[in-house]
C-alpha cells in the first residue's frame, strides 16, 4: 500500500485540527492560487454508490431535492440543481433490438454505465459570460463560482448553461451550482466528492496532470479491448467544442455523450451575440431609413 511520506508512521485516528495541505496526502496535489484545477471523472470506475452526492451535500450543507422515487433506474436524484451539485447517472444498457431485459453480459463488465455528473467549470464559461452582475466569477483556481451576496437572481445563467447545471433556488432567490469546493481549495483540502469517491472514479488535481493521466487511461483501456473509451471535455475532444476550449470537469465515457445526458457538440452562447446584434441593428437602421422615405412622400403630397 502506498502511504504518503507525510503520514507514514502516524497512527493517530483523531487529528488535533485540519491537516495543512491535506490534498497532498489525499490527492497527491499541492493546491495554490494561479494554477488550474479540475476533476477527471472516469466513468468506467464508477460503481454508483453516490458517496460523492452525499459528501457534497454534507460539506456544502445542501438540502435534499427529491424524497420520492423517480421510477427511472436507481436514479432518484434525477438531475443537477441548485441543491444538488453532484448527480450520479444510472444508464442500463438494454438489448439493442429494443426487447426487454439486459444485454448479454460481457465477461469483464456489467451492463450498467454510471457517471457522476457535475458542473464542468467550462473554459469560456457561458454562465459567467451571461452573468450581468459579476456574481459569477473565475477564481484563482480557474474554477467558476457564484458570489451569493452579488447575485440578484436574474436567472439568465440558467438557460445560458449548455449542460443544464446552474439553477435558481426559489427559497433564497440566488443561483447555485458546484463551487469545486472553493472553500476547501482555499484551505488546501481536496473537494469533498473526489475525496469520498471509493473507486477513484472522481479524481481531483491540476488540469495538465489530469489530462495526461486521462489520456494514459484511455490508451490503457483501448489496449485492454475497450475500444469505445474516449475523453469528453479534454482539449480537442468532444465536449470541448463551439468556443468551449476545455472543461475543467472532464469525463472518460464509453458511449455517445447523449447516453449520459451530455451534448455531443456544446457551444459558447457568447459567440452568437454579435451576429444577432449586427443583423438586428442593420434591420432596425434600414427600416429607419425606410421611415424617412415614407415620411418624405408625405411632404411631397
Amino acid at each position: 500500500m502506498n502511504v504518503h511520506p507525510r503520514v507514514a508512521g502516524d497512527n493517530r485516528s483523531v487529528m488535533p485540527g485540519p491537516i495543512p495541505d491535506e490534498s497532498e496526502i489525499t490527492a497527491g496535489v499541492h493546491i495554490e492560487p494561479g494554477r488550474q484545477y479540475g476533476f477527471f471523472t472516469d466513468t468506467t470506475l464508477c460503481i454508483g454508490c453516490k458517496a460523492c452526492e452525499v459528501a457534497c451535500k454534507e460539506w456544502n450543507m445542501l438540502p435534499a431535492d427529491n424524497l420520492s422515487l423517480t421510477g427511472m433506474s436507481y436514479d432518484n436524484t434525477a438531475a443537477l440543481s441548485a441543491n444538488t451539485w453532484r448527480h450520479v447517472a444510472f444508464v442500463e444498457k438494454v438489448r439493442p433490438d429494443g426487447g426487454d431485459g439486459a444485454m448479454e453480459l460481457p465477461p469483464f463488465q456489467s451492463h450498467w454505465k454510471m457517471m457522476s455528473d457535475v458542473c464542468k467549470h467550462c473554459d469560456n464559461a457561458p454562465c459567467q459570460e451571461a452573468c450581468p452582475t459579476g456574481a459569477l466569477f473565475r477564481t484563482e483556481f480557474d474554477t467558476v463560482v457564484v458570489q451569493q451576496d452579488i447575485c440578484n437572481g436574474c436567472a439568465y445563467c440558467v438557460p445560458a448553461c449548455p449542460f443544464g447545471v446552474i439553477d435558481i433556488n426559489q427559497f433564497d432567490g440566488k443561483a447555485h451550482k458546484c463551487t469545486l469546493c472553493y472553500d476547501r481549495l482555499k484551505g488546501g483540502l481536496e473537494p469533498a466528492c473526489a475525496k469520498s469517491c471509493p473507486t477513484n472514479s472522481i479524481q481531483f488535481g491540476e488540469l495538465s496532470e489530469l489530462h495526461a493521466r486521462a489520456h494514459k487511461r484511455v490508451d490503457s483501456l483501448h489496449e485492454q479491448g475497450a475500444s469505445d473509451a474516449y475523453l469528453y471535455g479534454a482539449p480537442g475532444a468532444p465536449g470541448a467544442t463551439g468556443g468551449l476550449n476545455h472543461l475543467h470537469a472532464f469525463f472518460l465515457l464509453t458511449d455517445r455523450p447523449e447516453v449520459y445526458n451530455l451534448p455531443s457538440h456544446p457551444s459558447r452562447g457568447a459567440n452568437r451575440v454579435l451576429p444577432a446584434l449586427i443583423t438586428g441593428m442593420v434591420t432596425a437602421i434600414a427600416l429607419t431609413g425606410a421611415a424617412f422615405g415614407f415620411l418624405l412622400t408625405t411632404l411631397g403630397a
Binding site: 452579488i150 436567472a155 439568465y156 455517445r256 452562447g269 444577432a276 434591420t283
Partner: protein, 313 residues
C-alpha cells in the same frame, strides 16, 4: 478518425439516445412578464425612432404626435424597468446590474441600453414639454439611436442561451425582433397620428412603414422557421398551445391581416377604417409573437432530443 477522439456525425432524422428522456438543459424561468418586457421595449424603441424621424423632417402635425408618442415611450421605458425588476428573484439587489459592464452578456448590454434609452427619452419628453424644439430633436435622436439597441438586444439575449428554439437561428430571430419592434412602433405612431393629426398624411406614412416592417418580419419568420425545421427544433411551435398562438395569432392576425389592411388604406376611404384595425392587430400580434416564442422556447429546452439535435455542431 482516431478512436480515442471520436467525431460524432450529426444525426438529423433518427432519434438520438437520451437519459431516460430527461431534459439535458434547463428551461429559462422567464414567462409572460419578460415577454411583455421585450414587447414593450421594442414598441417604445420603434415609436421613439419613427416620431423622431417625423420631427426631424418637420412634417406638419409631427410635433403633437411626437410629444404624445414620447409620453408613451417614457411610460414604456418605466414599465420595462419595473417588469425587469419584478422578474428578478432577489429584487432588492437590482442595482447590482450596474456593478459591471459585460459585453458577452446581452443582459448587461440591455441594462445599459434601457438606462440610456430611458434617460434620453425622458430628456426629450421634458424639453419638448417646454417647447424647446432643437434640444428635443437632439435628445430624441439620442433616444432613437439607443432605441436601435433596444429593438434587437433581446433577440441576442435569447439567441445566446442553450435553448434550442432561440439559439437555432439567432440572426433571423434578431431580424424578426427588430422588424417587429419597428412594426409595432409604427402601428402605435399610426394610431396617435389618426387621433391627433388625421389630415397630415402621417398616419398613412406610418401605416406604410408598418406594412414594410411586417413584410420584413414575415420574410424573416419564414427563413427562421426553415432553419429551425432543418435542425429539428421547431416542434414546440407546431404543437398546442404555442403553435396556434404563433401561427394564427402572431402570423395571421398579427402580420397577414394588418398587412392587407394597411395596403388597402392607401386605396380606399376612409383610410382610418382600415388603418385603425390594422394597427390594433399589429400591436396585439407582436405581443403574441414574443410570448409564444418565449414559452415555446422553454418547452424546447425541456426536450432532450431537440437540444441534442441543436448541439451537434
Amino acid at each position: 478518425m482516431d478512436a480515442r477522439t471520436p467525431a460524432f456525425e450529426p444525426v438529423r432524422h433518427e432519434p438520438l439516445p437520451t437519459y431516460h428522456g430527461r431534459p439535458a438543459v434547463k428551461p429559462s424561468l422567464y414567462g409572460w412578464t419578460v415577454a411583455l418586457y421585450i414587447y414593450v421595449a421594442g414598441l417604445a424603441a420603434g415609436l421613439q425612432i419613427v416620431v423622431t424621424a417625423a420631427q426631424l423632417l418637420a412634417i406638419p402635425g409631427s410635433e403633437p404626435v411626437a410629444f404624445a408618442g414620447r409620453a408613451i415611450v417614457l411610460f414604456g421605458a418605466v414599465l420595462g424597468g419595473i417588469l425587469l425588476i419584478a422578474d428578478l428573484h432577489t429584487k432588492q439587489r437590482f442595482y447590482n446590474m450596474l456593478r459591471i459592464f459585460r459585453p458577452t452578456s446581452p443582459m448587461s448590454i440591455g441594462t445599459y441600453a434601457l438606462m440610456g434609452f430611458g434617460f434620453w427619452s425622458l430628456m426629450a419628453f421634458v424639453v419638448q414639454a417646454f417647447h424647446l424644439q432643437l434640444p428635443a430633436l437632439v435628445f430624441g435622436c439620442l433616444a432613437a439611436a439607443t432605441g436601435w439597441w433596444m429593438t434587437t438586444y433581446t433577440a441576442a439575449l435569447q439567441g445566446s442561451t442553450a435553448t434550442p428554439l432561440w439559439a437555432g437561428a439567432p440572426k433571423l430571430l434578431a431580424l424578426r425582433y427588430a422588424s417587429s419592434a419597428m412594426a409595432t412602433g409604427a402601428a402605435a405612431a399610426c394610431l396617435i397620428a389618426l387621433g391627433l393629426a388625421p389630415a397630415s398624411g402621417l398616419a398613412r406614412a406610418f401605416g406604410n412603414l408598418a406594412a414594410l416592417a411586417i413584410l420584413v418580419e414575415a420574410a424573416g419568420t419564414i427563413g427562421w422557421r426553415m432553419i429551425l425545421r432543418r435542425i429539428g427544433v421547431y416542434e414546440p411551435l407546431q404543437e398546442r398551445p404555442w403553435g396556434a398562438v404563433h401561427g394564427a395569432g402572431a402570423g395571421l392576425f398579427g402580420l397577414a391581416v394588418p398587412f392587407v389592411l394597411f395596403i388597402l388604406a392607401n386605396f380606399f376611404t376612409p383610410a382610418w377604417a382600415f388603418a385603425l384595425p390594422a394597427a390594433i392587430c399589429v400591436l396585439i400580434g407582436g405581443l403574441l409573437m414574443y410570448g409564444s416564442v418565449m414559452l415555446a422556447g422553454n418547452e424546447s429546452a425541456r426536450r432532450p432530443q431537440d437540444y441534442f439535435r441543436f448541439a451537434q455542431g
